[in-house]
């Protein structure tokens, strides 16, 4: 019932009928590229840009193991990893059964991209709708926007470089919704230095996390213990 | 020889009363200078001004020939004092108290010196006991030790025998005499115990209501020409009438409970006796009073308080 409603809502935006073979075929090719990688261990710099977080850049380790294990770890300190970053990894997005919809094309940073929408067929899945922006020439997903039941809408943008052969990005920018943050002054006893502070706008919080990967170790095996 | 203390027109006015009023006096080297006055006469205030605890409203103080205002530290190096009841650090021992005050006076006392001082005041055996276990007399003696530790030239003792038993009073008296005769100190001692002052003082100052009433050597204060003679008769009214008609009227000081006090030359007592008998007065007793107490009472307003008790 939900799916029908969704399709109905999407109708004005669709230029081709549902489950277009071109879109599915494109997705298959993209998936095949992604399937080259069974596991990887990457090192990167994580930059957090959230209105109520002021954290320094952190060197993190990212572990992946097929089909859907992903872990971002800071072994040298504390990093606040957004929950959605794991949920909406590309491998997760393409996991399971879904209905593919061709949503035409779009321009992204001056390049033409193919827009494909995915509707998971599992009614209980957390993912509700994903929109993928695919570079057809290079068979790479350059952007994904995902709506989840629990945590709202996320956006992931990928930039490729050194590891393009494995369809592994050099840089990932992850944008997500956040709750308002405020602790009573009677608890924090902040130092008031007299400067004017911009009060965060209630209900409009969006956070951004950037991961700049410096290196990948691909398909060399990753123990399950790192995902604990 | 220049005086040790020279006080000129010293005045202290507190918010609600005048404590010292135009007081001038001199203390000579080697004096045991008695400072007498009843409670509230201004003795302690004067002593506190000598020790820079209180600022005078007017007047000048010179000690060892130096102005106290401009040479304070130099003077205080040579002065030791016990002011009223000497309160020391109760949680410290006698030895620690003495050491502390010695160092504050600018000396680095060796252990032997400290023990010697404690020996002098009879506290050597209790050197390492906390002061809060001491009797009043022991605290008094320790106070004197702290006043003497830096070997001052001038020692000021304000009520040094307060709260002491007769033996304690005698000990202090002997100590004062020792300091004066053997150690050649100049002492200024204030006391209520007039009988004691009589025994130790060489010179004396008597003040009343902040003013000097008398000053001088003890011997000259009891001028035979100014002896107080007490006359006790059978009929005081008749005696009063006889005296009023006689040459003795000007010598009459006062009448106290039926007795008459005359201030006169003691050598003329026989003349007085003859005149009274010839006048028909029946004399019960005729006594010359020459003690310091009587002299003091005669000069100060203390006798008013005595009357209030006896009448």
């Amino acid at each position: 019932m939900k799916k029908i409603l969704f399709l109905f809502l999407l109708l004005p935006f669709l230029q081709v009928p549902a489950q277009t073979p071109d879109a599915a075929a494109l997705l298959q090719k993209v998936r095949a590229r992604l399937d080259q990688v069974n596991d990887y261990q990457a090192t990167g710099i994580m930059k957090t840009n959230v209105s109520f977080l002021k954290v320094p850049e952190a060197t993190v380790a990212v572990y992946f193991k097929r089909p859907d294990k992903l872990k971002i770890r800071n072994d040298k300190g504390i990093s606040l990893v957004p929950k959605g970053a794991v949920t909406v990894s590309l491998n997760n997005l393409l996991k399971g059964a879904y209905t593919t919809l061709d949503a035409g094309t779009d321009m992204l940073a001056g390049h033409k991209v193919k827009v494909i929408k995915l509707l998971p067929q599992d009614d209980n899945a957390d993912l509700v709708l994903s929109t993928l922006y695919i570079d057809e020439t290079r068979l790479l997903i350059v952007k994904a926007r995902t709506t989840t039941r629990e945590n709202g809408t996320y956006e992931v943008e990928m930039t490729y470089g050194k590891y393009i052969a494995y369809a592994l990005p050099d840089k990932v920018v992850f944008t997500f919704n956040t709750k308002d943050y405020k602790l009573p002054k009677g608890i924090t006893f902040d130092y008031d230095d007299g400067s004017k502070k911009t009060q965060p706008v209630a209900g409009a919080s969006k956070g951004k996390v950037e991961l700049d990967y410096s290196s990948y170790i691909i398909n060399k095996g990753v123990p399950d213990s790192v995902f604990q | 020889m220049s005086p040790v203390i020279q006080v000129t027109h010293l005045t202290k006015h507190f918010r609600d009363h005048q404590a010292v009023n135009d007081l001038s006096f001199t203390v000579q080297p080697a004096d045991v200078y008695g400072f007498l006055g009843q409670n509230g006469a201004g003795k302690s205030t004067t002593i506190r001004m000598l020790l820079t605890l209180i600022t005078p409203t007017a007047g000048e103080i010179e000690v060892f020939g130096m102005n106290l205002r401009t040479h304070r530290q130099e003077i205080l190096r040579k002065v030791g004092a016990v002011i009223e009841r000497p309160d020391l650090y109760k949680y410290l021992t006698a030895y620690e108290n003495l050491s502390l005050f010695a160092r504050m006076s600018g000396i680095k006392p060796a252990k032997s010196l400290l023990m010697q001082q404690l020996e002098l005041v009879g506290l050597a055996e209790r050197a390492h006991s906390p002061v809060n276990t001491f009797s009043q007399g022991m605290k008094q003696r320790l106070g004197i030790a702290t006043a003497l530790i830096h070997d001052p030239d001038l020692v000021i003792l304000d009520e040094p025998t307060n709260g002491l038993d007769p033996q304690g009073i005698a000990d202090i008296r002997n100590l004062i005499l020792h300091l004066s005769s053997h150690r050649k100190k100049t002492l200024l001692v204030s006391s209520h115990l007039l009988s004691e002052m009589e025994l130790i003082a060489t010179r004396m100052l008597i003040i009343d209501k902040g003013r000097k009433v008398a000053e001088g050597a003890v011997s000259t204060l009891f001028d035979p020409a100014g002896t107080i003679v007490e006359l006790d008769t059978v009929d005081p009214d008749f005696t009063g009438a006889v005296l009023a008609r006689s040459e003795w009227q000007p010598f009459l000081q006062e009448r106290q409970a039926g007795k008459f006090l005359l201030k006169m030359d003691r050598n003329r007592i026989p003349d007085l006796t003859r005149d009274l008998v010839q006048g028909g007065v029946q004399v019960l007793a005729l006594r010359p009073r020459h003690s310091l107490e009587d002299y003091f009472l005669s000069l100060t307003t203390a006798n008013q308080h005595v009357d209030a008790f006896t009448n």
Binding site: N49, S79, F176, D190 | T55, R85, F101, M104
Partner: protein, 293 residues
Amino acid sequence: MWTLLQIELFKIFRRPRTYIPFAAIAAMVLIIQLGLKFDGKSYLELMMSSLSDSFYIPYGMIMNGYLVAFVILNTLLIQVPLLVALVAGDVVAGEANMGTLRLLVIRPVSRTKLMLVKYGASVIYTVLLLVWMAVLALFLSMLLFGTNDMLIARNTVMEEIRRNDVLWRYIAAFGYATVALSTVAALAFLLSVFAENSIGPIVSTISIVIVLTILSEMRIPLYDNTIKPWLFTSHMLAWKGFFYSQSDGKGAALPGTVENLPAILRSLGVLLAYIAAFVTTAIWTFSKKDILS
């Protein structure tokens, strides 16, 4: 001067009541450490309540020695000034009460020097209290809870400081706290000059600090721009400013930086001015005072 200072410190530290604040601090610190050791997660869950939906929170790593020390310092804000007042309020009034003040003043030492030494001894006492607190609150916490990056929950922002960027901030914070507490000591010292009994200055200092702290923390527009900037209590919390880093404009904290150092230095200036005013007034008053005790 050094001899006089030694004597003053000797008197302070031979007195049993001097050690009460040290015991009190030890008790408070240990109570907080025990509480956090056994139930620190509840504390963190409160702190992180608005983040836990969006982020994975490594509670075990966050509850480390640096955070625990910060929590302790935060909690002891009100208490330690009172403990300082206990000693500083007694240095002159206590002597007057004991009857020993007159014995000091008749020594060949200027009243100014006497007062400077007494205040100096109060400051040294304050420093020793803070060192004691540093050892227990910081170093013992580091031992019990380990070290890691430090998270600080501010009113509208959560700050993170890398572990190798923390210690110097604590040193600066303790240094600043010394000045802040010396201001309280100076106030107690001044009030001590007017009294013959130390209870008055101690209670008065505590009352003044509490009332002014409330005024400093309240948000009343009438006071915000008029009185508040000039209250010394408004500047006593500036030690926290050493834990606020600058941002690179994109939300990332810049290690090794202080968000608003000029503000902290201004606050420091205000406190030093108060100290100078209190101590100068105390010395001037005492030099003119008739010692009747």
